[in-house]
């Protein structure tokens, strides 16, 4: 790496229940930042499951029938379908009903998560039908879509590409509440060190046009009224929250990083099959792969 300079400035705004930042070296104007903010806002309006007018809610309420959606939604649904196929169903966006049944039915900014009784679970094996020509999509009856992390990382990617067009700034990084995309320049970024808060962070190199994401059962977790611990990462094979795990993946784009981090949380053993810099922590310990150590600046 020729230069590793931490960006000194950022544009900051709230979106998707978290804080977004556009890091730069001083060359991003307020107008460009506002354009990026507007794009993120528009995507949130489309894909949030907590906004009743969103396209995602329209799809869920129209489950079983074809619902007209925007070309952006068609694009993200096609990406979901491709990732579901590529991961043999481990990446499953149709876990919405399970996530809700386990207690995560409302935004955590508005209400605490929790269910009176934890559900029994059960495999979730369903596919989204997409008709790009007609601009419609259909999810199976009895299922609900939860775009979760992929919507955020998809938006991070779009925001990064827009920022790249709007400015010549040589150091650009989009931070979508923890989904990072180094649009230009090389960066040093922090990743969560362990499953528990007291463990120190790690610092890694993130090169230009790369994304990094961490998926963890330590975030967005709660205890149901029956005493069962739950969190937002549902294993589609069981329909239940997966065992405690945290995974970080560096990839050529933030979407790949996010999806694979989720998959590694569900199946930590798969890290051996991954050629990308990655790290997974479970109660059994830490495993790294794909040249992670070379990226690490502890």
């Amino acid at each position: 790496m020729a230069t590793l300079t931490r960006p000194l400035e950022a544009w900051t705004w709230p979106a998707m229940g978290t804080t977004w930042r556009l890091y730069h070296g001083g060359g991003v104007s307020a107008e460009a930042a506002e354009a990026v903010t507007a794009l993120v806002h528009a995507d949130e309006q489309r894909w949030s499951r907590f906004l009743p007018h969103s396209e995602l809610c329209a799809l869920n309420s129209g489950a079983g029938s074809h619902v007209p959606v925007s070309p952006e939604t068609i694009d993200v649904l096609r990406a979901c379908a491709a990732w579901t196929r590529a991961t043999d169903g481990l990446f499953q966006p149709l876990v919405g009903i399970a996530v809700q049944a386990w207690g995560y039915g409302r935004s955590m900014l508005e209400a605490e998560a929790g269910a009176a009784a934890s559900p029994a679970g059960g495999p979730i094996d369903a596919r989204i039908e997409i008709d790009p020509d007609r601009g419609t999509a259909r999810i199976p009856d009895g299922r609900a879509l939860d775009l979760g992390g992929i919507a955020k990382s998809w938006t991070v990617l779009r925001a990064g590409r827009l920022a790249a067009v709007l400015t010549d700034e040589p150091r650009l990084l989009v931070d979508g509440g923890g989904d990072l995309y180094a649009v230009r320049g090389d960066h040093l970024v922090d990743v969560a060190g362990g499953l528990w808060a007291e463990e120190p962070d790690l610092r890694i190199e993130l090169h230009a046009d790369e994304g990094v994401a961490t998926s963890s059962t330590a975030k967005r977790r709660w205890r149901n009224a029956d005493g069962v611990e739950a969190h937002h990462l549902i294993d589609p094979e069981t329909g239940r929250p997966c065992p405690p795990a945290q995974a970080t993946v560096c990839a050529p784009d933030p979407v790949t990083a996010d999806v694979l981090a989720t998959v590694l949380c569900l199946r930590p053993g798969m890290i051996g099959e991954l050629a990308l810099p990655s790290r997974v922590v479970t109660e059994a310990g830490e495993r790294t792969g794909g040249g992670w150590e070379a990226r690490c600046r502890r």
Binding site: T12, W13, P14, A32, A35, L166, G178, D190, A213, S215
Partner: protein, 135 residues
């Protein structure tokens, strides 16, 4: 011809006839086996050719789908680039049109009834380092 010569002659003729009959029977067996084998290979070849045809058709269909996907992606990228360039031009034309620049991202598809306006980004001179911890 003496009687001894006749006996020898008869014996030789009998031997020759036996050899000829044995050879003919053996040749018939071989011919039958070859014929069965030929039929087997012929059916095998037919099955292989049929399978090849099916595979070929599948590959062609796959290639067509792939080509469509590539073309679709290219079109989508072209549209995106066009939109981005339009946004850039708009950006340069008027500093106050930044919000409009974002509308090239098909803002007409933003669901009706959505939150009226996007939040305004705030400059942060010394932000914390980027981290995936909040992910």
């Amino acid at each position: 011809m003496t009687s001894a010569a006749i006996r020898v002659y008869t014996a030789i003729v009998a031997l020759v006839c036996t050899a000829a009959i044995t050879f003919a029977l053996s040749a018939h067996d071989r011919s039958q086996r070859w014929s069965e084998q030929a039929a087997y290979w012929e059916s095998m070849a037919a099955r292989t050719a049929h399978h090849d045809r099916l595979t070929d058709r599948r590959m062609r269909r796959l290639a067509v789908r792939y080509n469509r996907l590539v073309a679709g992606t290219r079109r989508s990228q072209a549209r995106l680039l066009h939109a981005l360039k339009a946004a850039e031009r708009q950006q340069l034309a008027s500093a106050s049109s930044a919000a409009a620049a974002a509308t090239v991202y098909r803002s007409s598809y933003v669901s009706a009834g959505g939150s009226a306006s996007a939040p305004v980004p705030a400059p942060t001179p010394a932000p914390p380092p980027p981290t995936t911890k909040a992910s």
